[in-house]
Amino acid sequence: MLRDITVGQFYSVKSPVHELDPRVKIRFVLTFIILSILDRNIYLYGLLTIVFMAALIMSNVPVKHILRGMRGIILFILLCSMINVFTVYGEELFKIGSLTITSEGIIKAVYVFWRMLLIIFMSSLLMYTTTPTELTDGLEKCFAIKGNVAMGITIALRFIPVLMEELDRIMKAQEMRGACFDKGGPVRRIKSLRTVIIPLFQNSIDKAKCLADAMDSRCYRGGKNRTKLRPLKYEKTDYIVYMILLVLLIVGMYFIIKF
């Protein structure tokens, strides 16, 4: 169900990972992703998996909660990586019709799947442990984004669950009036979708207008002279995590060069 999608939503619980400075978390995840893209070998991926597991355990976010939100995505990347099985040249294992399956293909598919899993799980762990506001504060500092752009991102994240619920409601309402989203030809489907997209758009615009008023009335001026409830300040643990990151980077590079 649409409401099951928990991607990008903060999971409120106390943990050392939640307490970390968002800049540390963003840089950590970014390095992690770059490492996983640079090369694929079992040692590197083993290392990254261990790092992810450690972070996950320390974050106190239940694995079940993460998995529930990702069922669809896991299925999708599984399908995507399966394509490799048929398209990579190499030693032929067996044939299904005109499709040839090679052992190289299977190996590549496993790696691609593993890599995508690592990337998606690690970045969603970032989202689960960092509130949208903290996240944008961090992005603002890490990438020198302007204050109001960052505010835009915060609000977009905040409204994901609200819009999801609305989408669910509108779809059900139109279904009850005979709209069909999963039957009929493409023309009929698109015609049916129109009955959902248009009101969703209209409502989002109305919401945006109200929200703009609400922000104005609370003296928002695009970040001018704005103070922060949680000002970004490095603590001891943040420095320790930076050190761990450095070690990870060195060991990772070593694995990449060596194997």
Binding site: D213, A214, R218
Partner: protein
């Protein structure tokens, strides 16, 4: 603190050729004053200009003429810096909690305004915690995610967000209109507290007439003008004028006036149920006995009848391991008018969605006309053809370029001929009381109440045998409500359509419904004649005092009188009958 003279505002709609077509949200020559610590209510029907007025107080729109002085600062010709200063002084709470909360976490949102006005970080937490405690949310709530809160809690967060800016005035623009009665009164009591304890001026815009009773001074607006102004005494003795403005007298005032006419009490200065109870007791102390207890409540539980139309057979439903509904059993017969009531989070909306199988729960049984909609093998389309479902805020689901196209969408999907579909659409538009002039009107040109009726027409055009409605009255002004209730009642009586409706409007429940099903924590608390179920809700509540707000006003009064010792029959909700019951008990 606020001084407004000869305020004018106009807003024109223009068509593609830039010709003036329509004038909306106009304000014509308003004079208004608010002193520090005042509690002012502004009422008016939809489109009377009250929300426009509220926005002017916060400089969200600039009037075209007149003087607006807020704390001595000119709001009409002010610079950006002046406007900033005004907004620091005057906070605003809006109608829809979801459209005004910016943070994802309670503390983040409460701090938002204070951050914008440059309160240093070390002071921010202090402000967040004190604002949260002022609205009755504990410090524990600071880390909770916004989407885990109920509507009432979200509204409290919004108020706390304003309080954290330490304003001297708060404007509330229909801030309670999306809440159930219990949360509504919790918010209202919070606002009253803020006014009394912190001395903050309150300007409350509303169309719930009973909310006017907690204000000290009242403005009634109509067609952009101040139609009436004065204290409660002068406003509510002017019933004819109230009606002219599209409003009605609060129920408790009506009861009080009738008791006065019957010679039971003096008439002056009684504006709440508690005050009325006190007055009756003062004037008739000898009719109150110490030994009076509560009557026994015998609910005749409607029997489960296998030929009944909608049957819930021990239904459980849980979502994310949270039990939403447990062991729900009841049946609804053809031609009944049933209201389902309960606070937020009691599973009312979930229960409605189970009826057409929009959500499923394995291993449970819900029958509609003998077909189990939970069974995956059942043909749902056959069941759904008979069910019309009106979701909450159905006007938010309109999509077509004009009224007719939207209404005709449903019948077209059923596969009838175009002529038949057209006929059904026209009929449906007529049934909801809209004239044939609006067929070609774009939907966004209609008023809120009209849009809702168009959405209802879109469902009726499917010619359902059952009509399921999720809070069809919420957000409507008194006239819009009455219109909607009349339409539903006509559908029930004349077309014989079975009505299953979730509603918070208790006064209308006792007037129209045959039966009330009360839910509490996902279970059926009472099922039967409305008055009996209301009485049961009161008797079994943990916090009886708060539960009273969920009852019709007449029953609130009778129960309070009874607990003071007057031997009046409590199971009466009709006003005239209730007054007879009081008179009999006194004599």
């Amino acid at each position: 603190m606020i001084k407004i003279k000869d305020l004018e505002f106009e807003y024109y709609e223009r068509d593609e050729e830039e010709n003036l077509t329509d004038m909306i949200n106009a304000i014509r020559g308003i004079n208004f004053d608010a002193k520090k610590g005042d509690f002012i209510a502004i009422a008016g029907k939809n489109g009377s200009g009250k929300s426009t007025f509220a926005k002017i107080l916060n400089c969200l729109i600039t009037p075209i003429d007149g003087t607006v002085l807020i704390g001595g600062i000119d709001a009409v010709n002010g610079t950006d810096e002046d406007i900033f200063k005004i907004r620091k002084k005057v906070g605003m709470v809006f109608q829809n909690p979801d459209n005004q909360i910016i943070g994802s976490i309670v503390a983040e949102d409460v701090a938002f305004g204070a951050e914008n006005i440059g309160i240093p970080s070390d002071k921010l937490w202090e402000r967040v915690f004190s604002a949260l405690s002022d609205v009755g949310l504990g410090a524990k709530m600071a880390d909770v995610r916004i989407d885990e809160l109920s509507g009432g809690e979200k509204q409290k967060v919004a108020i706390a967000g304003v309080l954290a800016m330490k304003p001297s005035c708060i404007v509330l623009d229909e801030a309670t209109s999306m809440l159930d009665n219990k949360s509504r009164w919790e918010i209202l009591n919070t606002i009253k507290d803020i006014n009394k304890k912190l001395g903050i001026t309150i300007i409350m815009i509303t169309h719930h007439m009973d909310e006017l009773l907690i204000a000290d001074y009242i403005y009634i607006m109509n067609k952009g003008r101040v139609f009436l102004r004065g204290d409660k005494e002068s406003i509510f003795t002017n019933k004819e004028k109230l009606k002219e403005a599209g409003l009605e007298c609060p129920v408790i005032v009506e009861i009080k006036d009738k008791l006065f006419e019957a010679g039971i009490i003096r008439n002056d200065n009684v504006y709440s149920v508690e005050a009325l109870v006190k007055r009756i007791k003062e004037e008739h102390p000898n009719s109150f006995y110490l030994s009076t207890g509560f009557e026994d409540n015998i609910i005749e539980k409607p029997k489960i009848n296998p030929v009944n139309a909608i049957i819930f057979n021990h239904v459980n439903y849980s979502y994310n391991k949270n039990t939403v509904l447990s062991d729900i059993t009841f049946s609804i017969g053809k031609g009944e008018y049933v209201v389902i009531a309960g606070g937020t989070g009691t599973g009312k909306s979930t229960l409605l969605k189970l009826i057409p199988g929009l959500i499923k729960s394995d291993g449970n049984m819900v029958f509609v006309d003998g077909i189990d909609v939970m069974d995956k093998a059942s043909d749902l389309s056959k069941v759904r053809k008979k069910l019309g479902f009106v979701f909450q805020y159905p006007e938010q689901q309109l999509f077509a370029k004009n009224v007719y196209e939207d209404v005709v969408f449903g019948p077209r999907n059923t596969g009838v001929s175009e002529i038949e579909a057209e006929k059904r659409a026209y009929e449906a538009i007529e049934v909801v009381g809209l004239s044939d002039e609006i067929y070609d009107m774009p939907v966004n040109k209609l008023s809120g109440g009209e849009k809702r009726r168009v959405a209802l027409a879109g469902v009726l055009a499917m010619q359902p045998e059952y009509l399921i409605l999720d809070e069809p009255l919420s957000g409507l002004d008194p006239q819009g409500k009455q219109n909607m209730l009349d339409i539903i009642s006509a559908l029930h009586k004349e077309a014989g359509i079975t009505i299953v409706m979730v509603s918070h409007d208790m006064e209308s429940v006792v007037r129209y419904a045959d039966r009330l099903i009360a839910l509490e924590k996902g279970q059926v608390l009472g099922d039967g004649a409305p008055v009996n179920v209301f009485y049961e809700m009161y008797l079994s509540a943990e916090d009886k005092e708060k539960e009273l707000y969920n009852l019709p006003v007449m029953m609130q009064l009778l129960i309070r009188l009874r607990s003071e010792g007057l031997e009046a029959d409590c199971m009466v909700a009709d006003i005239d009958e209730g007054i007879n019951s009081i008179i009999n008990a006194i004599n």
